[in-house]
Amino acid sequence: MCQWWWMLNFYVCIVDSPFLWVYGVICIQLCVCDGLLHFYVCMVDALCLCVYGGCSISMCVCWMLHLYVFIVDCSISVCLWWMLYFYLFMVDHSIYVCFLCLQRLDGRQTYDYRKIKITFGTDYGCCFVDLGKTRVMAQVSCELVTPKESRPNEGIMFFNLELSPMASPAFELGRSSELLVKLNRQLERCLRNSRCIDTESLCVVSGEKVWQIRVDVHMLNHDGNLMDATSIAAIAALSHFKRPDVGIQGDVVTVYSAQERDPIALSIYHMPICVSFSFFQQGTYLLVDPCEREERVMDGLLMIAMNKHREICSIQSSGGIMLLKEQVLRCSKIASVKVSEITDLIAKALENDKKARKEGRKCGFAESMPQERITALKNLETTVEMTDLTKQASDIVEGVETPAEMALSPVVPAPGVGQVGAGLQNAWGLEDEEDEEEEVDGDEPEVTIVAEKRGNKKKGERPVVIISDSEEEEVVILNPESS
């Protein structure tokens, strides 16, 4: 029985973390030396750690158990183990506990994506993607142009991204922004270099006329991870798009409109999807799909574009982070899992849209927003940590000073004029700052007077304080009379 326990331990250590390695070694030693009681204690330990996620409750349970065994058996090895546990917990508390119960601002796990919603517009080639609150729109259009000289029988793909101030107040209307260049180039490399679209089928007359497919992506709301949303929107829009049919008779090229002949879809070989990983604290922590707040504090970003067949289309590291080979390989494994999920989602959305159009139902962006339903304004649920909330709240309430009594009777300095709240203690909490300002600006002899006043902390009568050393005007501060 000890063998399978040992195997399980090592599996957990190698897969998850080096801390459990220490724990595993001690388990073996104890099981070998002392027998069944310790074995049962080890099992309960591991159960607590794995199932309850290593929070302080399970740690305390472990300590209690070890202490009990120590008292019962008086064995030195158990005592040593208890001390090691204690040391690990206290010294490396932040890392040990955090890696087991790491929680993000919105309650996701480290490898979780936000909710992805894909809707299509009325025209072919229009796609909206919601990644949590990040919203992005992609529109595909086509045009007949002359091809490049170096590639006379291939179509052209053109990508254009727009970051308007509508998406975020941080974006300006200036054209050359670093983020814009980065996103543009990454989208180009992800979709064009990976040859996901058959460009040779876009050729109409070799050397003279080819289709130019233009993908315009607009950011509508920036809540982090624009790159992923952009890549999903672009590839979904390209899969949804249908170009007009073309007929060639001799030298004459006729472009048929949608009413004359059915438009033809583009031939797409595979769907490359970008997955973004953000690194924190020099590579100690890794998060998938950072939201906007996480993006602001991250050290750097690693973008991996892959398709469903586990082929990597593009890798790009940005930010000034130093990566290790193992981190990159681990990220690629995570990316392959996420990409297959997202590809299934896109395929399902395309299917639904095709069915809706065939059945003649209304489809489009306006239809995708629920209007006359009870759930129209529903917000997504968020998990919130509430375990010691009451204690925290009571601590805060006790720490706050009680506000002074507020008498709301107005003071009437002149007939027809009233002042409510004059002469009372300032409850806005700005009193200390005003005193400090006076101290800084005042002349030397005034400083001592004001300092004494601060010591009193009572709003009594104060002499007039001159705060400016200008000879032309005299600035005088009037203090309200105490009522």
Partner: protein, 243 residues
């Protein structure tokens, strides 16, 4: 192209190298007197020139000053005569902006910028002849230029472009080999830390590890060569100044 084998059956590439061989590296430091640091490097047929000014006071937009470290400003450009077809390359087009950003990111990780708060370090790199591995050669040239300028760095920054043909990783690609999958890696050899990782075109996930290993080995080879160049240059300079 018919008949153009990137890797022959005997294991030889188009220019007669084996799969793991690097191209011949020739470099000179201190080529310009005006700049604080400069270097010229030739890796096979790819030639690049790098010039470093700094650290000096912030010029241009003062509001970009960082209070605790230096700002690194990189500019990458290709000469119009660098490729087979003469092409006019306007400054500020997307590709050179992207390369400049990548260079900036690479050197921000390696240069000890905390020693020069509120200053600016300028790195200008120009490709004179492009025959594959442009980014890697630029990084190597910029490393030599920064060492020539005397700016402290954590380690040499060595870069290499590797590709994957017939289940074999090829180190240090030339232009014809770059059309397939290529991975550019900038490495700090002593710690094995990757400052920049960039890959285009398709590669199956299982081959990624082998490719990264080959890239890191190639970068370590490049670092030895660069180290030799620096030591030789210092010897020459010390002989000339009579120390």
């Amino acid at each position: 192209m018919a008949g153009l084998e990137l890797l022959s059956d005997q294991g030889y590439r188009l220019d007669g190298r084996k799969a793991t061989e690097l191209r011949k590296v020739q470099a000179r430091m201190g080529v310009f007197a005006q700049a604080d640091g400069s270097a010229y490097i030739e890796q096979g047929n790819t030639k690049a020139l790098a010039v470093v000014y700094g650290p000096h006071e912030m010029r241009g937009s003062r509001n970009r000053t960082l209070h605790d470290r230096a700002v690194i400003n990189c500019q990458y450009s290709m000469a119009t005569f660098s490729t087979a077809e003469r092409k006019r390359r306007p400054h500020g087009d997307r590709k050179s902006t992207e390369m400049s950003l990548h260079l900036k990111q690479t050197f921000e990780a390696a240069v000890m910028t905390q020693l020069y708060p509120r200053s600016q370090i300028d790195i200008y790199v120009k490709v004179l002849q492009a025959d594959g591995g442009n980014y890697s050669v630029c990084v190597n040239a910029a490393t030599l230029a920064i060492i020539d300028a005397g700016i402290p760095m954590r380690d040499y920054v060595c870069a290499c472009t590797v590709g994957f043909v017939d289940e074999t990783p090829l180190a240090d690609l030339c232009f014809a080999e770059e059309s397939g999958s290529s991975l550019a890696l900038a490495l700090l050899p002593r710690g094995g830390q990757i400052a920049l990782l960039q890959m285009d075109a398709q590669l199956h996930q299982d081959h990624l590890e082998a490719l990264m290993d080959a890239a890191m080995t190639a970068c370590k080879g490049v670092s030895k060569v660069l180290d030799e160049v620096v030591r030789r240059h210092l010897q020459e300079v010390s002989v000339l100044t009579g120390e």
